[in-house]
Each structure stands twice: as C-alpha cells, then as structure tokens.
C-alpha cells in the first residue's frame, strides 16, 4: 500500500489555506457498572469475565440505563455550558460489526442530552472559545484481536478473537461545532482543547481520562479552504489519536497533506483516516462501497430521559470549581501574568504549583522551582512534570531551608537533584552530600584570608574605594568553598577586613 504523499510545509500551507477544525471526543465514564447492565467496568480483567446476557446481546436480554451515567453526562453538559434537554431519547445506530454484540449501538441521534455549549481554552496567552455542538451518551464496543497476518493489524489477518468486557461501558461523546479562524495555532488549539476537556473531566471526577488506556479517545476533523474562498472544504476524520501530542501532530500533518493535494489541483476525499503513533502519519481507511445508512430510530427498549429542572439545578449547584475559574482565582492569588499562566498551563504545572503553595511555599517560589529547575530537568529526561519523583512537600522543605539561610539557591538545586536521583528526602540529601552553607565564621575567615592574599590587587582596589571590585573577591570565596559559603556574610567580612564600609 502506498501511503506516502508529498506534503506542503506548514507555513506555506497556512499562507494559502485556512484550516477549519472539528473534534469528536469519546470519554469512558468511570461508573462502577456498565451503561445498561450490572457488569463491572474495571480495566484489564481476563477476557469475557465482565459480560452478561445484556452486554453479550443474548436473545431476550434488555438494557436498563445506569443512573450515574445519566447524571455524569448532565454534569459534563453543565460544565461545558450546554443546554440540558428537557426530554430526549436513546436511539439505535444500526450497523453490523463483530465487536458490537447487538449489531446496533445504543446511542443518541437527533435528541442529545446536552447541546449548544462552549469551552474556553487558552493558547499562547489568548482565550479561544470552542463551541460545543452536543454531548451525548452511548455505549462502547468490545475489543478484537487480529490473529495471523504480519502485524496483528486487521488487514491481512486470518481471523479475529473478541473480548466483550468493554462492550457496554458508558461512553460520552462530545462534539464541537466547526472551529474556524485558528490559523497557525490550529494544532495548538486542538491540543489545548483536549487538554482542557481532560481537566474538566478530572475535576468533575466522571472519568479517569487515560488516553493510553482508551478512556479518552479523540477523532480530529480537518478541512482546508483556499484563502478568499467562501465555502469550507471537504473534511477528513482522523481516528486513533491517542495522546495530546498526537492531537497536535495529527492536525499539523493533515493540514500539510491536504494542502499538498489541493495545491496540486487534487480533491480531498471525505474519508476516515487512521493516525499512526509511530510515524505521525495518517493513512486512509478502507473506502466504503456505499455510504453508511445507520437507520437510527428511537430505542424502544429504553424510556425517554426527562431530567427535572430541580435535579438539573441541584447538579449545577454542586458542580466543583472548574479549571478555568480555578485558574483565574489562582492567577489573582498568585499575582502572575497571563504569559506566566499560559506557561504553567502548557507545562501542566497548575496542580503542582497549587499543591506546593498549599504545602506552605510562597507562590512565587513554588512557581520558580516548578517552572525553572524542575521543568528543565523534566524536559531533559523527557518525563512529564507531574511524574518527576519529587513531592510538593519536599520542595516546601527545600524552600524552607533556603529561607532559613541553611541553603542558597545553588545548593538548593543540588538538593533537588539528589531528591530526583532517589537519594532520599531533602534533609537526607543535605546530610549525605554535605550541602550546608558555610556560615562558621572561623572557617569562612580562613577562606577569606586565603582569597585576599591570593588577590592582592583586587583587595587594594577595594581599599582604595572601588567597592565594586569586592564582587571578584566574593566570587573567589564562593569558588574556594565550592559554593557552600554564605555569599552575603562573606562580603560583609571582606569589607570589614579591608576596613571599608558602604
């Protein structure tokens, strides 16, 4: 299969075309039981141990909707500023596929539970409002493993084996309206949206939103329209985008691919494309002979959902503080700039900074350590900030030691390095590495004596009133003490010794 096409460099693509995005996100709800039966939703169970007549679609079995899933969906809708339907129904989406036991999916069609909302996301210090078309509830499918063939892929497999543990897990689908006007920021906007959505889900506690386990999945729609054109172009839908970074790569890649085709006078085929994490490329899904006709109709086995206004009001009142509001509050409390906020957001550092502040550290210090030294180390080792082996409490201890004068910044960095290297708590690292500041006057005096005699010229200059020259002498002391000297005290002592006062 030849899948390599020429691509147009991103900047050039953006000069000639305007991208329009659309994102469809599926979130597996963290309910204890499945959407329509009492089987457990626990991840990673042995195959076909979390199945029953209902989720296996045995003859005669009937679905009954999970109240927690309905509630969670309404809460998601409220958090996304949606209108909650007064009355709506489940619908059957009919198509045959071996991983779907009933050969129809219970979903919602033209009556979604939540509609017309928005989510504000911040990109590069600016707020972009993403309009939400709908939020609806449906059920997940089983999982097929493809046997035979070269790669375990469906293509060329001899047969497949199916595990239905995942079949029937509640799935919330969140669909944006088309997002025009993002221009060069399109990839970042897509990523920021999914990041923000994930934080909203976490804050609501409705899902563990683990992209790597598939509890948050994203389909990315991209179309391009030539500059000056009035109509949007044909869109493609890229599936299988399983990390935040991939969301960004998929948008960028699809813009570059489509631009090359359009510039060549080609046409974009409306199709499903698959993203490959390894190469970052997308390949075309099998082109379908005939357009799907899902024959949606209202699910007769389930009754309409008609949430009372009182219940909705109650759920609204009980919503936790949402990420945007939280960020605004923290920005005010911490007194930081929009740019710094954006930087923290991009680095996924809010929770860490907040926890560190809670542990007693001044906001400026907490931010300085996480966004400075620790961000650098995270970057070097390629680990997300949150996964660095250090706790906010440990940082608080280091900051405390600096404040008390026991450490200076340089030593503090070495302490952090020790903690990250698994050498123990900050106090243990200080002890083991001998990182206490040298404030013992006797030891400091003897170092100063050595430095003054070795730098007579500089000492003379200071004596003659050129106080600025003291910097070199202090530097000498620091060097001789391998950074352990208290620089302020050293300066005082040098000036005193040279009989100069400021």
């Amino acid at each position: 299969m030849t899948t390599t096409h020429s691509v147009m460099p991103f900047d050039e693509a953006l000069e000639r075309f305007e991208p329009v995005l659309g994102l469809e996100t599926h979130v597996e709800l963290g309910t204890a039981s499945k959407m329509f039966c009492g089987c457990s939703t626990a991840f990673g169970a042995p195959p076909n141990t979390h199945v029953c007549p209902v989720c296996l679609a045995l003859p005669g079995a009937l679905p009954v909707a999970n109240d927690k899933a309905i509630e969670s969906t309404i809460r998601i809708g409220l958090a996304l500023n949606c209108t909650i339907a007064e009355w709506c129904r489940f619908a059957r989406k009919n198509y045959f596929y071996p991983d779907m036991p009933k050969n129809y999916q219970i979903s919602q069609y033209d009556e979604p539970l939540c509609s017309n909302g928005y989510l504000d996301v911040e990109v590069g210090g600016e707020t972009v409002r993403i309009e939400i078309e709908r939020v609806h509830l449906e059920e997940d499918t089983g999982k097929s493993t493809h046997v035979g063939g070269a790669t375990g892929r469906i293509h060329g497999a001899d047969y497949s084996i199916v595990d239905y543990n995942r079949a029937g897990i509640p799935l919330v689908e969140i669909v944006t309206k088309p997002i025009p006007g993002t221009e060069k920021l399109a990839p970042e906007v897509a990523r920021a949206y999914v990041t923000e959505l994930r934080e909203v889900m976490r804050t609501l506690g409705v899902s563990d939103v683990r992209m790597e386990e598939g509890s948050l999945r994203c389909d990315v729609n991209v179309s391009l329209m030539p500059r000056g054109a009035g109509e949007w172009g044909t869109r493609t839908e890229t599936k299988n985008v399983n990390s935040l970074r991939s969301v960004e790569r998929a948008v960028r890649g699809e813009i570059e691919r489509q631009a090359a085709i359009l510039a060549d006078g080609g046409k974009i085929v409306q199709e499903t494309r698959h993203f490959h994490e390894d190469t970052g490329a997308t390949t075309s899904g099998r082109s379908k002979e005939e357009a799907q006709d899902y024959r949606y109709f209202p699910e007769p086995d389930l009754l309409p959902i008609a949430p009372s206004p009182e219940w909705i009001a109650e759920l609204r009142a009980e919503l936790p503080e949402l990420p945007t509001a939280r960020r605004r509050r923290l920005q005010a409390e911490w007194g930081v700039s929009d740019l710094d906020m954006a930087a923290m957001h991009n680095a996924d550092a809010f929770g860490l900074v907040e926890a560190t502040v809670k542990a007693g550290v001044p906001a400026a210090d907490a931010r300085k350590w996480w966004m400075g030294e620790l961000a650098r180390r995270a970057n070097e080792s390629g680990t997300p900030l949150a996964e660095l082996p250090i706790t906010p409490e440990q940082i608080a201890r280091v900051v405390e030691l600096v404040a008390s004068g026991a450490l200076n910044d340089k030593l503090a960095r070495q302490v952090l390095e020790g903690v990250l290297a698994g050498e123990g708590s900050p106090d243990e690292v200080v002890e083991a590495r001998g990182l206490r500041i040298v404030s013992d006057e006797g030891e400091l005096s003897s170092i100063i004596d050595q430095v003054l005699s070795a730098n007579a010229d500089a000492a003379d200059k200071v004596r003659s009133g050129k106080i600025a020259a003291v910097g070199a002498l202090v530097g000498g002391v620091m060097k001789a003490s391998r950074g352990k000297a208290d620089a302020g005290r050293a300066r005082e002592l040098i000036l005193e010794r040279l009989g100069v006062s400021e």
Binding site: P59, G60, A61, K102, Y296, D301
Partner: protein, 496 residues
C-alpha cells in the same frame, strides 16, 4: 374425569389438598403429549425428566408443610421465545437450533418460583412473526379442531397444546394479536395484558414496543391465575410498569357486567369478515346486553390505519432486534471455511438460518428506516400510533370496555395463505390497535361459525391497566355462554 380435562384452578386445589400428587398430574399430561402431539405438533421440546423432577419437588415441599401457591404443581407449556436455562430455546428458528440460554426469562423464573411445572416449549411462527405457526422452522402446528387447519399464530403451539388438553396452561406473546388470535381460532381464552404489565426480560424480542407476554387457558379464571402469577414490575425491563397488578383474579371470579358500558367498534366488520364470525359476535353483544350491559356504538376512525402502521413499526423494530443473530457468539454459523470474511459469514448464516417471512420483515423494516424513507414510513406509522391512542382515549371516555370479533375469519386451512403475506396479515386486523396503544385485551370463545363449525372469539379491550375489566367481562360472557351451551365450547371439539 381425567386429570388432563381439569382446569388449572382445580388441579392446584387437588395438589394442595394432597388428593393427587404433582407427579401424577405431570405424568398424565406427559402421557397425553405422547399420545396426541405426534398429530398436533404443539411442542418443540418436551422436558420429561425436568418436569417430573420439578413435580417431585412440589410434592416434597407440600409433604414438608410448606405453603404452596394456587398453581403449584400445575403443568405449563412455554412458548419457545421465553428463555429457559435447562432446555433449548429456539424461537422456532433454525438460527437458534439447539441453543441453550444461560439464564431464565423473568416469566419463566417467576412461574418456576410459583411451583408451576414446565412440560416443555411450544411451537410458534419463527421469531413470533406470523398468524398461523406455519412459519416455524420445525413444521406447522395443527388446530385440534381440524388438523387440516392452522391453530393461529404466532403462539399456535401454546394455543393448540391447551386446546388439545396437553397442558392446562401455557404462555404466549402478543405483538399484533399472537395470543388473542390463536386463542380465538382454537376456542380457548387468551389475554394480552397491558404493555409493561408483564416483563419482556428473557422474551426473545420481535418488536420491542409491542411484545407483551400473556396467558392461555381453557377458562377465564385460569388465565387470570396465570396472569397474576407472572405479572408485576421487573427492574430488568425498563418498560415494565411500576404499578400493582390489576385485580384480575378477583375480577374473573366476579364476572358480571351489570351497568357496564360496552362499546362496539363501528369500524370492525364488513368486507373481509366471515358471516359466521359476525353472527357469533352479534350474539355475544346481545348476550352482554341481556346481562345488563349498556351497548354503545363507538367510532375509532384511525383503527383503519392500524394494520399498515403495524406492518411498518413491527418490521422496523425486528430488523434491528434480529441483527444480533449473526453466527458470531451463539447459534448457527454457516460458511466459515477460513477464507470468508465475518461479513460474508454473517450474510450466509442469516440467509440459511432465517425463514422467508423473517427475511421479508427484516428487509421491509430496513427499508422503512432507511434515510429518505424514514419520515414517510416509520415516522408516519408512529403518528398513526398517536392517533390510535387518541381514539382509545376518546372511546374510554364513553365506555368501560370495547368489544369486537377477535379475528375476521375462523382458522383457515394450512397452506391457504402461506405465500400471500398481505392475506395473512389481515388475520390481525382487529387485534393490532390494542398493541399499538398498549391496552389490555382478551379473547374468549363465543361459539362456532356456521360455515365451518370452527371457533369464533370475542375480543374485549380495556384501558391501560384496566386488565381486570377484560377478565370481569370475559368471565360474565363465559358463564352465560356455558350455561347456554351446557359446558365449555371446547367440549364440541373432536377428541384426538
């Protein structure tokens, strides 16, 4: 008198008092099945061993002094659409040949709990689609009144089993008349409860918004006893009603119509109705009047659209409900030779496993739901459904119950309508409206048609949750007719 001629209520009392054992009663029925079922073909599966074991257990419980329900030890036959974990469940289809479900339907479970003894599973039109039981993959069932005629359908095995004394009671399901029509043409009682009054959990679905489990019996009281035994709210069925079961047994015992307003549906009658059916129906109306009921003619103008609406809604739902039969997880699998795709194997399996009527309805439903056709067909049919409900509502402002013939004709000869679906569909003309609006309706015998000497049924329709009215009126009619006939209508049937 032979045990097989007794009513369920009588058998229950005999067993409870210890006069006969449940094992004796069960054995008598198993003997009767062995004797006559080769001619009737009512049963797809006879559960001899488990029936006797269940009967022994009832006898043991009685001996131990445990309290027994009114139907404990009484045998029953289940339409083969109710799942049973200890015997096959086929829905009359090749696609489920030999299939054994791992769970019991709610109806099955509740009746086991009540001590009823399951004799076996009865024949039906495949997936309950049909009005004659000719659509079974396992051969047609015959009408005990005339073995050359159909026993009605789709629950024809259940009606024939009860009418031929192979079982005192049986279960059926009624989607467009599949209990009332077979009851009418075999001269017994069949009741479609209010939709949601009896659980569909474990009932192999034909059309979800219409399917209703209900009882067959040889008299109204027995039907009420069975109705009460399996009805009531079930948390496994979302469409199950959260209300008390209407007092059906009390109503069946009461059986009077004095002062009751009885509506005669003007729209039922005329072309397509057999004169003998109309004659018996008129007699029944006169009888009701003589018993003190007030007869009112009622117009239900939308009922004329019920049949076409039904033949859009039921196939639409079935096209989706039957999608699960694809040979992947259970049942028949055809053509899996290691080279064919799942898609091809599914299509071959379904082509081989489903009979012509099922295929016809699946394609009809697929058509009615297709984009571009949905509004004109399925959408319009749903609007007709609203109109039918409005007609019923208006009618029940005027009257307490509505009556009509249950079927336009008596049982027709086997094969007569076999490849003429439109003619076959007419059998449900009078029964379908109650399914579309969820109302309760019963069929009770009202005599034999002069032309062919075959039984005619009187349909009594009541409002939603007015099931007791069906039994009250049914019992009154039954008593008056039996007084006139000198016993039940069924005594006129030829002995097999």
């Amino acid at each position: 008198m032979s045990l097989t001629r007794k009513t369920a209520a009588e058998l229950g009392a005999l067993i409870a008092s210890g006069e006969v054992s449940a094992v004796e009663v069960t054995q008598a029925h198993l003997d009767r099945i062995a004797e006559v079922d080769p001619q009737v073909n009512a049963f797809l599966h006879v559960a001899t061993e488990s029936a006797l074991a269940q009967a022994r257990s009832v006898d043991e419980r009685r001996a131990a002094g445990e309290p027994l329900g009114p139907l404990a030890g009484v045998p029953i036959a289940h339409k083969d659409v109710f799942t049973t974990k200890d015997m096959p469940t086929t829905a009359g289809s090749k696609i489920l040949e030999g299939y054994r479900p791992p769970y019991d339907a709610t109806v099955t479970a509740r009746l086991r709990e009540a001590g009823l003894v399951i004799l076996g599973k009865t024949n039906l039109d495949e997936f309950a689609m049909g009005s004659s039981t000719e659509n079974s993959a396992y051969g047609p069932t015959r009408n005990p009144w005339d073995l050359g005629r159909i026993p009605g359908g789709s629950s024809g095995g259940s009606s024939a089993a009860v009418a031929s004394y192979q079982a005192p009671l049986s279960t059926g399901t009624d989607t467009g008349g599949s209990i009332r029509q077979p009851a009418a043409v075999t001269g017994i009682v069949g009741m479609k409860p209010t939709y949601g009054g009896s659980s569909r959990y474990g009932l192999i679905a034909f059309a979800s918004s219409l399917d209703t489990p209900g009882p067959f019996a040889r008299n109204v009281l027995d039907a009420a006893l069975l109705h009460e035994a399996f009805s009531g709210h079930d948390s496994m069925d979302s469409t199950s009603i959260h209300e008390e079961v209407p007092p059906v047994v009390e109503a069946a015992r009461r059986g009077d119509v004095a002062g009751l307003r009885v509506g005669v549906v003007k729209e039922f009658g005329g072309e397509g109705y057999q004169p003998g059916v109309i004659a018996r129906f008129r007699e029944a109306v006169d009888l009701l009047e003589s018993l003190g009921a007030k007869i009112v003619e009622v117009s239900c103008p939308s009922f004329g659209y019920a049949l076409p609406a039904y033949y859009l809604i039921a196939p639409s739902e079935c096209s989706s409900n039957l999608a699960r039969f694809d040979g992947m997880r259970y049942g028949l699998r055809v053509g899996d030779d290691g080279t064919r795709s799942a898609e091809e194997v599914m299509a071959l399996t379904r082509a081989a496993g489903f009979g012509p009527e099922v295929k016809r309805r699946i394609m009809l439903g697929t058509y009615a739901l297709s984009s571009g056709y949905y509004d004109a067909y399925y959408g319009s049919a749903q609007k007709v459904r609203t109109l039918i409900a409005r007609d019923f509502e208006a009618a029940f402002h005027q009257v307490d119950v509505l009556v009509s013939p249950t079927t336009p004709t008596t049982a027709f000869p086997i094969g007569e309508r076999a490849d003429d679906p439109m003619a076959m569909y007419l059998a449900d003309l009078c029964t379908i409206p109650a399914n579309l609006s969820g109302n309760a309706a019963i069929s009770v015998p009202c005599g034999l048609a002069d032309e062919d000497g075959m039984p005619v049924g009187l349909q009594i329709m009541a409002p939603v949750l007015g099931d007791d009215r069906c039994y009250r009126v049914g019992a009154a009619v039954e008593k008056a007719f039996e007084d006139r006939w000198g016993g039940p209508l069924l005594k006129e049937a030829p002995s097999l």
